[in-house]
């Protein structure tokens, strides 16, 4: 990147973050909350972009990482007293990373559609366990808890009012974006992209491709878990619906629609679909997924620039 475009990037970045930070002050409560939901789903989609866009692996299993983040946070808040937000974060991330490690160990042996199908099936293992293990997970009803304050023992304590929570979400999503951006530009990220472009060649050069893929899936799962923790904190519950593979499908939709391999695209995709849902659900009530599905299929067929990564990969074969 030249000096000029770097400057433009950081200027744009500062403007967008500034606008988002001002939003809780100006927007009505409903829209401010929707905005922070968009950011959380955007973070989930962005985490999956690390796999779809940068490594060329389409994961249909991100609901498991997201859901385990939620349940990990809920477990920490319910089991440990006094509840601490840091423990919730820690538990959520550990649970998500463990799940991601498990899924990665098996699914990275496979490529393309086989990877997609196995991540889907493996994420369903977590769904079945969570859904049927009622004693621990609350089964169908899930777990509810109250939101803890943001506190550093002995230093300060901040009650998480809606606005404060929205700033917390914004701060974490922005930091995650910067981290993910750094990861994709690092030597590690370059190897991931070379796996996407030509796996056999990457292997021939001497990179342990499987190990890179496992780390990529785990990193991606970690950020998905972070999104799950945030979502649990925002809504004060963890529910099995969020572990079900339809959530993974939606994540993929956000990615494809927004444009993969861009990190920002998935957030745009999430915003597009959540706003679309808001608009359509006034006319179609619960059937808004019909037009959403139609739009998605049309984008897959007619907007291959949304599928830039695949297209590029296909041309290179």
């Amino acid at each position: 990147m030249s000096r000029g475009s770097t400057l433009v990037f950081w200027l744009g970045f500062a403007v967008v973050v500034g606008l988002l930070a001002a939003a809780p002050l100006v927007l009505p409560a409903f829209w401010a909350r929707l905005l922070s939901e968009i950011l959380i789903w955007g973070l989930l989609a962005m985490s999956s972009d690390l796999l779809i866009g940068y490594t060329g692996l389409v994961s249909f299993g991100h609901s498991a990482f997201f859901g385990l983040g939620m349940y990990g946070a809920a477990a920490a808040l319910l089991a440990v007293s006094p509840p601490s937000i840091w423990l919730a974060l820690l538990f959520g991330l550990i649970a998500a990373a463990a799940a991601a490690g498990f899924v990665a160990f098996f699914s990275t042996r496979l490529r393309d559609i086989y990877f997609a199908i196995t991540t889907l099936i493996f994420s369903q293992i977590f769904y079945v366990v969570i859904f049927t293990w009622t004693a621990v997970t609350g089964g169908e009803n899930g777990l509810t808890f109250t939101r803890p304050p943001l506190a550093l023992p002995g230093l300060f304590q901040l009650r998480l009012s809606p606005a404060n929570l929205q700033w917390l979400v914004l701060a974490i999503v922005v930091m995650s974006y910067l981290l993910l951006r750094r990861i994709t530009q690092s030597p590690f990220g370059m190897v991931l992209q070379s796996i996407r472009e030509n796996e056999a060649r990457t292997r021939a050069i001497g990179y342990p491709v499987e190990r890179y893929k496992i780390v990529a899936v785990m990193l991606s799962g970690l950020f998905a878990g972070l999104a799950g923790v945030l979502y649990a904190l925002q809504n004060e519950f963890a529910a099995p619906d969020f572990v079900f593979f339809l959530v993974s499908g939606e994540t993929v939709i956000y990615n494809v629609v927004g444009g993969i391999g861009t990190l920002v695209g998935p957030i745009v995709g999430a915003a597009f679909f959540l706003l679309l849902r808001e608009a359509l659900s006034r006319f179609f009530t619960e059937f808004y997924l019909i037009p959403v599905g139609v739009i998605f299929v049309l984008i897959v067929i007619f907007m291959p620039q949304g599928l830039l990564g695949f297209a590029r990969r296909w041309l290179n074969q």
């Binding site: 496979l110 393309d112 559609i113 997609a116 593979f245 499908g249 619960e286 059937f287 897959v300 695949f310």
Partner: protein
């Protein structure tokens, strides 16, 4: 825990019955995948819609067999429509795009069913009400009949592929699409036919399985998962493999249901999948290296 022998035998029959249906659904999916590299995410929804078409025809005509035939035809036509509108433009692109597109289709069909038929589950009555005594149980003849019909349909498909002119064309196209085209086989129409046949098989299975379950808009989701497990264990695109894997997995789940709830018995098939991926990542019955 001590399980009496009778129960094991009963579960064996139950396992074979669901296994045959699962085999019918899975072989439709794997047939489609084998010939055009399309993973049809909407296959479970075709199964679900087949059951609903069955419900409607049954309500209109009162004949189960008419329902079976009409569901097969309607869903085959629907499959052909899906193929023409969404999948044909994607042929030749990365197979992953077909998963995405058919996932979109599955969302549409599922919510269409919810919109059209509402959230209340429907029922299909058993067409054959007789029972026979199996140990201490009155076992419905219908379940045995389902297994036989499914086996007959699978056999018919196999015979068609083996000896029918179109069947030979289908196998030729699966082996080498370009060569088949060069030999004068109408490849575009062959692909369309295969998609319609696969969809029709799913539709027929929906009606056949209807009397054993409650029919609602979400039933396709369970089935697509089981079908995916079956085709991965059996080897993608391997017709015989998916039939064997379907029966094998259904039997295991049926036995597991002796100890745990059916919802948890699914975990057994996950374990089979994990072991398969660990030791035979190309599927238990794979012939070619993936």
């Amino acid at each position: 825990m001590n399980i009496p022998l009778e129960q094991i035998l009963i579960q064996t029959i139950n396992g074979v019955v669901t296994g045959m249906i699962l085999a019918l659904v899975s072989s439709g999916l794997t047939l489609i995948f084998g010939i055009m590299d399309v993973v049809n995410f909407a296959h479970g929804e075709l199964f679900m819609l087949g059951a609903y078409v069955g419900v409607l025809t049954l309500a209109a005509t009162g004949s189960f067999w008419l329902a079976l035939i009409s569901a097969t035809i309607v869903i085959a036509v629907l499959g052909a429509l899906i193929y023409v509108t969404t999948l044909r433009p994607l042929l030749g692109r990365d197979p992953l795009t077909t998963i995405l597109a058919t996932f979109g289709i599955s969302l549409i069909l599922q919510n269409y069913a919810l919109w059209q038929f509402g959230p209340v589950a429907r029922k299909i009555g058993e067409p054959i009400s007789g029972h026979f005594t199996l140990f201490y149980l009155d076992y419905p003849w219908y379940r045995v009949v389902i297994a036989l019909i499914s086996a007959a349909l699978l056999g018919a498909v196999w015979l068609f592929l083996k000896f029918g002119t179109w069947g030979v064309w289908i196998r030729a196209t699966t082996q080498d699409r370009v060569m088949a085209q060069a030999m004068g086989i109408p490849v575009p129409r062959v692909l369309l036919t295969v998609f319609a046949i696969g969809a029709g098989m799913a539709g027929a299975s929906g009606v056949l399985f209807g009397p054993l379950t409650a029919i609602d808009h979400a039933m396709g989701l369970d089935w697509i998962l089981r079908v995916f497990i079956v085709v991965v264990v059996g080897g993608m695109g391997n017709l015989a493999g998916s039939v064997v894997a379907a029966i094998f997995i259904s039997l295991l789940e049926a036995y597991a249901a002796l100890w745990v709830s059916p919802a948890q018995a699914v975990i057994v098939s996950f374990v089979v999948l994990i072991l398969t991926l660990l030791f035979r990542p190309t599927g238990l019955f794979a012939t070619a290296v993936r």
